[in-house]
Each structure stands twice: as structure tokens, then as C-alpha cells.
């Protein structure tokens, strides 16, 4: 059984078909890449997995359990974490608080216990602080721990966002263009973090990325979307030699198209 099975998922917005019968499987412990041209439906697919969109048909199973119909917060509790494409951090909170919020589903104390701050709640805060500090060390963001994230640079915010998702101790991590808008140095750092997350923390990762070099090098399996359809699924080598994928990215090499554009 695969960790995540996406089976014939279709998504409509009014009359627009955003996803049409998309199928793929993500195995436990792999880095899985979702690629495709702009507007192909990659982010929509992630939104279906994390529960922000409700597909009109199909099924998404996580560890064999159906996800569709569950609200987003219950999916997070099952161990699915997400870093967004456009940074969606809590701007007025510090880095530490953002990461502590990532621990939300792993913590128990309620409103009364928190307000009174007695034994158990205080102990729990300290315990989870330890887990968060581990992630802070891991992502090398010790120096900015107490800074409000709104004041940080773009690259660092992206890193904090990955950290917040990681704080959830996820089994499946959805990364939506974690390297978008970064310079090559920052990209290298992020690629290293992704590999480390995968190897040291035993997290299965679904990655959306436009940098083909990164995708081909990092991922074990790739699914290619184009206009909401899954046009290719396989290992990086298979994808690179798939004629439909080449066509979607580079266009058709036919005389009539050349003729019509002239």
C-alpha cells in the first residue's frame, strides 16, 4: 500500500476543469515531485490533499484512509504538513511562536490550563519547546529565533515556513515551490535541507518545483500535470524521455505550427 494514493481526482471551479482524473501514488519514504507548466493545477492538487479544495470526484487515501470529507485541521492531525507557495506565516508572531504553533496538533493543554499556566501546561510548553529548538538548530535559524517573522528576508521566511511545517512532526510534507524566488546559494541550502529532512527525519515529501535540475536530482518519482491532466508518471529518467512531457514543455515540433506562427 502506498502512503498516499490519489485516484481519479477531478476538480471544477464553475465551468473550469482545474484537475481531471488525476492519478498517482506516493510511496512511503520518497521524495515525490509534482511538475508542470504554470496553471497546470499543481497547487490545486496540493490544496485537495491538504483539504482547502474539495474535489468533485475521485478519492485521496492516506495510509489507506480516505481523506476527502475531512476538514483541513483533521488532516493536519493525521500528519500532513504543508509549506505554502506564497508565504503564509503568522507575521506578527516570532519565529519561535510560529514553530510552536506548528506543534499545535501534538499538544493537548486547553484554554483554562494555559491561562492558569499550572504544572501540566507549563511542562508541556517546555517539552515542545525542546522539539522546536531541535528544528531551529536543524534549519540554522538560531539567531532569528525571537524576531517577528514579518521583519525577515524572503529567503529566511521560506525557511521558517518549512520549519513550521516540520514542527508538526509530519509523516507527509507538502512543499509548494520552496525555492521560488531564491538565489542559487539559497536554493542550494534549501535543497540540502530537503535532503536532510528526508534522510534524517524520515519524512515523505511531495515537492512542487520549477527548477528542473533540482527536481531531477532530488526526486525518486515525478508526476507531470498539464492543463489539469496527469500526462506522465515515473522516475526522473522515464519522465525526461517521455514524449508527451517534452511536448508539454517545449511544444510540438511540427511543420504546421511553424507555418501558422509565421
Amino acid at each position: 500500500m502506498s502512503l498516499l494514493e490519489v485516484d481519479k481526482v477531478s476538480l471544477h471551479f464553475g465551468g473550469v476543469l482545474a484537475l481531471s482524473e488525476v492519478c498517482f501514488q506516493v510511496e512511503k519514504g520518497e521524495i515525490f515531485a509534482l511538475i508542470g507548466p504554470n496553471g497546470a493545477g499543481k497547487t490545486s492538487m496540493l490544496n485537495c490533499i491538504s483539504g482547502l479544495y474539495a474535489p468533485s470526484s475521485g478519492s485521496i487515501r492516506f495510509r489507506g484512509e480516505e481523506l476527502l470529507g475531512l476538514p483541513p485541521h483533521k488532516r493536519a492531525a493525521k500528519g500532513i504538513a504543508r509549506a505554502f507557495q506564497n508565504i503564509e506565516l503568522f507575521k506578527h508572531m516570532t519565529v519561535l511562536e510560529n514553530l510552536m504553533l506548528g506543534r499545535h496538533v501534538r499538544m493537548r493543554s486547553g484554554l483554562l490550563a494555559g491561562g492558569l499556566y499550572w504544572g501540566k501546561a507549563a511542562r508541556e510548553e517546555a517539552e515542545h519547546r525542546e522539539a522546536v529548538e531541535e528544528i531551529i538548530d536543524f534549519l540554522e535559524i538560531q539567531a532569528i529565533r525571537h524576531k517577528p517573522v514579518g521583519t525577515l528576508s524572503y529567503g529566511l521566511q521560506k525557511r521558517v515556513e518549512v520549519g513550521r511545517a516540520l514542527a508538526l512532526s509530519p509523516e507527509l510534507l507538502l512543499l509548494d515551490e520552496p525555492m521560488a524566488g531564491m538565489n542559487s546559494e539559497e536554493k542550494e541550502d534549501m535543497a540540502r535541507f530537503i535532503i536532510d529532512i528526508h534522510e534524517e527525519r524520515d519524512v515523505t515529501i511531495i515537492l512542487i518545483e520549477h527548477d528542473m535540475g533540482v527536481v531531477m536530482e532530488l526526486s525518486h518519482h515525478i508526476a507531470v500535470l498539464d492543463f489539469g491532466r496527469c500526462i506522465g508518471f515515473g522516475t526522473p529518467d522515464e519522465i525526461q524521455s517521455n514524449p508527451r512531457v517534452i511536448e508539454a514543455y517545449l511544444g510540438q515540433a511540427e511543420s504546421e505550427e511553424v507555418g501558422s506562427s509565421a
Binding site: 491538504s50 483539504g51 482547502l52 476538514p71 483541513p72 485541521h73 493536519a76 492531525a77 504538513a81 504543508r82 505554502f84 503564509e88 506565516l89 503568522f90 507575521k91 506578527h92 508572531m93 511562536e97 510552536m100 504553533l101 506548528g102 499545535h104 496538533v105 499538544m107 493543554s109 486547553g110 484554554l111 490550563a113 494555559g114 491561562g115 492558569l116 499556566y117 501546561a121 507549563a122 508541556e124 510548553e125 517546555a126 519547546r129 525542546e130 529548538e133 513550521r164 511545517a165 508538526l168
Partner: protein, 353 residues
């Protein structure tokens, strides 16, 4: 011995527990105890009139902390505070006067009933945001006031109700000083509770809902639950404030809880600082004392302009509005931010960097 006037050059905590304390640096902790001590001594050194003003400030502070939890920290605008104060006040009045319960039971019950009513009117917040939610809470204000006005059998209608000062054993809280201590104790409790709340799990979830509700949901926060919870805990404190106010003035009637009161409370947290517990207190004190100070000023001006007194009401409203606007433009983060800036500049003084 270290000089008490030298600042620390950093925080040197050796445990996460110590690093998560409300006041990490011992010197600042002592300063807080000092301020508390000053407030405890206050009624011994000032007139009864000043003590009564301080009591009013403390009651308003409790309500403002409540509203700030909802509007400042969780981002849900509410213009129904006036009515929620009324729910607290009338609950306590009915429980003590009609049913003959003790004040000490009626006070928490007033808070709980208001929390329940608040949660009920918080239910639309799942679907409504911003201005739309404001309209929904305005509806709460109108519905609750209408109910109070027309349920003569329970609330005495427009005539209002009479309340008594609380007693404990043989002691009655009749004097200004004793009631001041009562409200101060509850204010300190509310302050500590709220400060704790926002350094733990539930409070962080509230702030997350305010900053980015979408991301909060994906991080595992049940939006509906936390929004309703914010309405409930906020209304609890507002209800307490309403009950305390009722037992202080010893008479309540619907006009004490009209929309003007709601606006005043919103002004308190705006001027004090949204999302700041200590800011709520600053704002509450500011708005409570503003008419008093204006009155004094008018009295001075009346010597030269005898007709000034006639226009006091209008003048008060105008200055009130002008101050809110000035704050919105020049210091949207309110008095709390000004206080932080002041502390920061003290830390650096006499250097400018």
C-alpha cells in the same frame, strides 16, 4: 552589589521554563511588583473621588482586556461589547436581587452566562469576516438590548434594577477603598490569566487565526472551535466587568449598555494597542479619565468663556473622535507601542543607536 540603575546586557536563561517566563529579567520582575505595590497603596494617599475613578478604570480595564482578546488578538471585530456588559450586569442583578444568591457565586455565573451568550453570537464568525462580522455583532447588540428593554418581568424594563454592594462574612464592600481592592484583585487575575493564555497553545492559536486563518487551519487549528472559544473567553471577562460595574453603581438600566459604550470600548483597545494586554489597561484608563480631564479643563475655560459648559457634551464627543483619529494615523499600535518605544529609548540612553 549591582547598581539597580544599570541595565542587563542580555538574557541568560539556563532552562526553557525560565526563557518562557512572563518577565524574564529579575530586575523587570521587581519593577512589576513595585508598580503593583504602588497601586495597592494608592487609595491611602488620594481622595475618595480619585479612588472611585481608579475603580472605574479597573473595571473598564477588565472589559477592555476581554474585548482585546477577541478583537486585538483573534482579529474578530465586535461592536456588541455594550450589550455583553449588560448581560453580565443583569445576570448578576437577577441572581443577587431576585434570587438572593451571594455575590461571590453570582459574579462567576455572570461571566459564564455572558460567555455562553457571546459564544452563541460568535457562531456566525465562521462565515463572516471583517465588516460583515461587525454587522452581525451589531445585531447582537440590538437584539440583547431589545430583550433587556422589553423583558420587564426579569429585568425591570427601562426602569432598570437595583443592586447591592457585595459582603463577605460580616464585611461589606461599601467604601470606595474596599471596592477598589476588589476590582484590582480581579483585574490582576484577568491580566495574569490573559498574559499566560497568549504564551501557550490556545492563545497562539488565537493569534494564528488573526494573522492567517487559512494557514492556521492547515496547521491543524479548528477555526470554528477557536473563534467561538475566543468569543466565549472574551465575553467572560466583559461579563465580569459588567457585573462589577453594576454592583459598583448599584443601579443598572438599559442606557448604560447602549452602542455608545461598545464604541467607547473599541476606542479603548484602539488607543491602548490592539493585541496588547497592558495596552488594554492603558486605553481603558485613558478613555475613562478623558472626560474627567476635559471637565476640569472646561471649568478653567468657563472663567473666561461662560458659555463653554453648555457645549461640554458636544465638545467631549468631538475631542474623543479627534483623539481616536490622531491615534489611528500617528500610532496605530497605540499607547502600548509608545510605552515600548519609551522603554527602548531608555535602554539606549544617552546614545541614539
Amino acid at each position: 552589589m549591582r547598581s539597580p540603575f544599570v541595565s542587563e546586557c542580555g538574557e541568560f536563561c539556563t532552562s526553557y521554563r525560565a526563557d518562557m517566563a512572563l518577565y524574564k529579567i529579575p530586575r523587570i520582575r521587581y519593577r512589576v511588583y513595585g508598580v503593583l505595590f504602588l497601586f495597592l497603596m494608592l487609595p491611602w494617599f488620594v481622595s475618595e473621588y480619585a479612588t472611585s475613578l481608579a475603580t472605574l478604570c479597573a473595571i473598564a480595564s477588565i472589559g477592555a482586556i476581554g474585548l482585546n482578546i477577541l478583537t486585538g488578538f483573534t482579529g474578530q471585530i465586535s461592536i456588541g461589547v455594550g450589550a455583553f456588559l449588560g448581560v453580565g450586569g443583569y445576570t448578576s442583578a437577577v441572581l443577587t436581587t431576585t434570587w438572593g444568591l451571594s455575590f461571590w457565586i453570582a459574579l462567576p455565573l455572570a461571566g459564564l452566562v455572558t460567555a455562553l451568550v457571546g459564544a452563541l453570537f460568535g457562531i456566525p464568525s465562521l462565515r463572516l469576516k471583517g465588516l460583515y462580522l461587525a454587522m452581525a455583532t451589531l445585531a447582537a447588540q440590538v437584539i440583547i438590548l431589545y430583550t433587556i428593554n422589553h423583558w420587564d418581568g426579569l429585568t425591570g424594563g427601562t426602569g432598570g434594577m437595583i443592586l447591592a454592594r457585595p459582603t463577605l462574612g460580616g464585611f461589606s464592600f461599601d467604601s470606595e477603598m474596599s471596592y477598589y481592592y476588589l476590582t484590582l484583585t480581579i483585574l490582576v487575575g484577568a491580566f495574569i490569566f490573559t498574559s499566560n493564555l497568549f504564551r501557550t497553545r490556545t492563545g497562539r492559536a488565537f493569534i494564528a487565526v488573526r494573522d492567517r486563518d487559512l494557514a492556521a487551519e492547515v496547521m491543524g487549528i479548528n477555526l470554528f472551535r477557536y473563534k467561538v472559544l475566543a468569543f466565549a473567553i472574551s465575553s467572560f471577562f466583559v461579563g465580569l466587568a459588567g457585573a462589577l460595574m453594576g454592583h459598583y453603581t448599584m443601579v443598572i438600566s438599559p442606557e448604560h449598555f447602549d452602542i455608545g459604550v461598545s464604541i467607547e470600548y473599541l476606542a479603548m483597545i484602539l488607543i491602548g494597542g490592539l493585541g496588547s494586554v497592558v495596552g488594554s489597561i492603558f486605553g481603558a484608563v485613558f478613555i475613562t479619565l478623558l472626560p474627567v480631564v476635559l471637565r476640569e479643563l472646561i471649568d478653567i475655560v468657563t472663567v473666561y468663556l461662560p458659555q463653554a459648559t453648555e457645549h461640554f457634551g458636544a465638545l467631549r464627543q468631538m475631542i474623543f473622535g479627534a483623539i481616536v483619529i490622531v491615534f489611528l494615523i500617528y500610532e496605530p499600535e497605540g499607547l502600548a507601542k509608545m510605552w515600548r518605544n519609551f522603554k527602548d529609548s531608555c535602554k539606549l540612553w544617552p546614545f541614539s543607536y
